[in-house]
């Protein structure tokens, strides 16, 4: 036994690294793909059902849409150009140089009709049905190239609603499982989906392989990038990891302004947060510039409204809520609150460590003016459920990928209180309703833009929420990755032109 615990024991310890070295040779072979690290894999590759950001972004690579958006979020032709024949009749004509489906068949008007007919059929339970069913009365085709949409009511934003990927009619009718076996006419096609942590696409123009790899933990994702197991990633990293990567050789970091809007929401039915002076005091107590500089690592720009100023309905000159703790204290004093007799509020947030850190910073800033905040952190489902049910005083969330200004009805109209919409703060204001309704019935985009701009100024005065910031998008890649451009909404369209040098 002496020999076992002595020399043999050490021999065993020495053998262990040697065995590891042998195991290295058992690693999977490199298929030459460019690897993109994701925090979450797409849930479905069927655009008729996709609602999560990753699925939507990857579906853009696999499918083509009738309409896309420019940098100002104005609808632009993609697969089709359009004509407004009457306010209730739109004619879409497919572009002649469109790519065929990956199955080889040409995309025709029948495919467009079949895709939208499927979504409009309530029996199919598509989450995209609502916005389309409210507007579309019927769809007709004229030959292989022309699709006519007849509307129930005039809708200036209608073309912008047609951003869903088009699927082949024949496969829709046969009940093909697009969720795992997508067939689209996009720049990429499915190569393999071997398991739920790897998804491989092939670029149709040059057979470049692109592999999405799920790595949930951000630290591990960074380590994989440093070791070259992944070649690139976008967002979902805390600022300290980005700062760490900035010093790493062989890694390049690029940033782009984003439109994802972070805000602090209030429950307007609450006896405290329902008071305008308290909301105003909170708005003045938050030092957003410092948070952006020190916590977000300058990867954001301050926000004053839901739509960024460069959106066609955004407001470039909207005044900013100033950081003024003195004014905040002055607003709270007549209500009987000070640092000695603080106002007690609860702030709900998700269990995401970074969101929790931001909440802690805001908790400290609010304490400075006499608001003692109790943080309550929940898993996403419980947190989101509480917010929809109105079980909160304050919370913070983010609106992602907003393109159309009809979001204002969904978020602020008095008839949009959940479950009817996303007016989670139970904000009821006659002027807001009037501005939303007037904007919706405007007959020109210019008038509509003016009305939405007026509405955003009004909301900043009413403060049903405190606009915080628009978070930037950060793309990190190994040196050999070239040609990627960051999109305003954080989509992965940069992969259309990416290459390996």
């Amino acid at each position: 036994m002496q020999r076992l615990t002595g020399k043999r024991f050490f021999a065993l310890i020495l053998l262990l690294p040697l065995s590891l070295l042998l195991l290295v040779s058992c690693a999977a072979p490199d298929n030459g793909a460019l690897r993109f690290g994701l925090s979450k894999m797409p849930v479905t590759l069927d655009p008729r059902f996709a609602t999560d950001a990753t699925s939507s972004r990857i579906n853009r690579l696999l499918y083509q849409r009738l309409v896309d958006f420019d940098v100002a979020s104005m609808p632009t032709p993609s697969l089709a150009s359009w004509q407004k024949i009457t306010p209730l009749h739109y004619r879409f004509t497919l572009v002649p140089e469109r790519a065929p489906f990956s199955s080889g068949e040409l995309l025709t008007s029948a495919d467009v009709k079949a895709t939208y007919a499927f979504i409009l059929d309530a029996a199919n339970a598509s989450p995209h049905r609502l916005s389309l069913a409210r507007t579309i009365e019927r769809i007709e085709t004229r030959g292989d190239e022309v699709i006519e949409f007849f509307l129930k009511e005039a809708d200036l934003l209608f073309p912008g609603r047609l951003g869903i990927g088009i699927l082949p009619k024949q496969l829709i009718e046969s009940g093909h499982a697009f969720n795992r076996a997508p067939v689209g006419s996009g720049a990429y096609q499915l190569d393999a989906w071997p398991d739920d942590t790897h998804l491989r696409l092939k670029r149709r123009s040059d057979d470049l392989l692109l592999e999405f790899v799920e790595v949930t933990d951000p630290t591990v994702r960074v380590l994989k990038l440093m070791r070259g197991e992944i070649d690139m990633m976008q967002n979902d990293l805390p600022p300290e990891l980005i700062r760490y990567l900035q010093q790493e050789p062989g890694v390049k970091i690029s940033r782009g302004a984003g439109s994802n809007f972070a805000y602090l929401g209030f429950n307007m039915e609450d006896e405290f947060t329902g008071k305008y002076q308290i909301r105003q005091a909170i708005a003045h107590a938050l030092d957003r510039d410092s948070i952006i500089k020190y916590v977000l690592g300058e990867s954001a720009r301050p926000a004053n409204a839901l739509l960024p100023p460069d959106h066609w309905a955004g407001v470039p000159g909207l005044h900013q809520i100033s950081y003024d703790p003195g004014a905040a204290r002055a607003l709270l004093k007549p209500l009987g609150y000070s640092r000695d007799t603080p106002l007690h509020l609860t702030y709900k947030t998700s269990s995401d460590p970074f969101r929790l850190r931001l909440a802690t910073v805001m908790q400290q800033q609010l304490a400075e003016v006499g608001i003692k905040v109790e943080l309550k952190s929940y898993d996403w489902g419980t947190f989101y459920g509480d917010i929809k049910a109105g079980r909160f005083q304050m919370y913070s969330l983010m609106w992602v990928g907003i393109k159309l200004p009809d979001i204002f009805r969904y978020v602020f109209h008095s008839t949009a209180i959940p479950p009817e919409g996303a007016n989670r703060g139970r904000f009821v204001d006659a002027e807001t309703d009037r501005l939303i309704e007037t904007a919706e019935s405007a007959t020109s985009i210019e008038t509509q833009a003016q009305l939405y701009q007026q509405l955003q100024g009004h909301l900043l005065q009413q403060l049903p929420f405190v606009p915080l910031w628009y978070e930037d998008h950060v793309f990190i890649a190994r040196d050999h990755v070239a040609g990627y451009t960051i999109a305003r909404d954080g989509n992965y369209d940069g992969l259309l032109n990416v290459s390996k040098q």
């Binding site: 479905t44 339970a125 739920d196 440093m226 996403w380 489902g381 459920g385 929809k388």
Partner: protein, 309 residues
């Protein structure tokens, strides 16, 4: 032995039935509506009701329970609300990864724990003993979410020997298995040391020494065999936990197992998948513990005889 076997299997079936009912009712108590998850926040009440009816969620709870058991008997666990894939398919994809990791973790634990525990017991109150117990304390104290990245840093980044994460060949199994196995090895080593020390003071050990047997023969043939019973119990419980999905390790190493599937499903409020995962984890515990009981009875006849009396 047959009576014992029958009684253990019967009680396992009762536990499985109880767990199935509990899982069903608990999942209905969790806040949130699967229909709203599927249709989104902005869906119309009419659409929600139509889907609720299509899914059978408008039926009385006992009818839903019967349907659920009917599905279980036919191995039909429904489909994921999000990916629309059959849940059985999802589970079948994940089980091999979890089983492989559990087996490898257990192997690492046994390989480390037995020599360490035996050595600590044999060289009680020496530097060897202190060293072994320090390692054990180290293994127990360091959480997996910390141990994992540390191992990655050392073996993957600094030495460049092993892949950081994912499931790509045998090499990718080493670090997650080491992470899982180290914690288990630490617990096992302490247990082996304690039970061996207890056994070594027994009369039959003194008799063995008096017969002139070597210390190694005494420990292996007499000591270790008698010290194994509590170790087997611990191994059984730990194996149940490993097979149920070592969630943190799977997440750190992006290991596509049951643990990661469960966490994803919880975050996405994919209730049927959560339900199936919890049921599978419970079933694993029941099966492993029943097997442990049977091994226990096989090793110690007093247990099955006591059961028979």
């Amino acid at each position: 032995m047959i009576n014992f076997l029958f009684s253990r299997l019967l009680s396992a079936l009762v536990v499985i039935f109880g767990v199935s009912c509990l899982v069903f009712f608990l999942i209905h108590l969790v806040p949130g509506d699967p229909v709203e998850v599927m249709l989104g926040e902005s869906s119309q009440p009419a659409d929600r009701e139509a889907l609720r009816a299509a899914l059978g969620l408008d039926q009385p709870i006992w009818v839903q329970l019967l349907n659920y058991f009917n599905g279980l008997l036919h191995l039909d666990l429904g489909e994921s609300l999000h990916s629309k894939r059959p849940i059985v398919e999802l589970l079948m994809e994940r089980i091999p990864a979890t089983a492989t990791l559990a087996a490898a973790g257990l192997l690492v634990a046994v390989v480390i724990a037995f020599p360490l525990g035996i050595m600590a017991a044999m060289k009680k109150d020496t530097a060897w003993d202190s060293g072994a117990m320090f390692f054990s304390l180290f293994g127990i104290s360091i959480p997996n979410f910390w141990m994992g990245p540390l191992l990655i840093l050392f073996f993957s980044l600094w030495l460049g020997w092993l892949p950081v994460s994912g499931q790509s060949g045998i090499a990718s199994l080493v670090l997650p298995a080491l992470t899982l196995g180290t914690a288990l090895a630490a617990i096992l080593a302490r247990m082996i040391r304690a039970t061996l020390l207890e056994v070594m003071s027994e009369d039959y050990m003194r008799t063995a020494r008096a017969k002139g047997l070597s210390e190694r023969a005494i420990i292996i043939n007499h000591g270790l065999k008698n010290a194994m019973l509590p170790v087997i119990t611990l191994l059984g419980l730990q194996l149940g936990a490993l097979l149920g999905g070592a969630m943190i390790t799977e997440i750190v190493f992006s290991w596509p197992g049951i643990g990661q599937l469960t966490i994803d499903a919880i975050n996405r409020r994919d209730y049927p998948v959560v339900q199936a995962c919890i049921l599978l984890i419970s079933l694993t515990y029941v099966v492993v513990n029943t097997l442990t009981d049977l091994v226990y009875a096989w090793m110690d006849p007093r247990i099955r005889l006591g059961e028979g009396q």
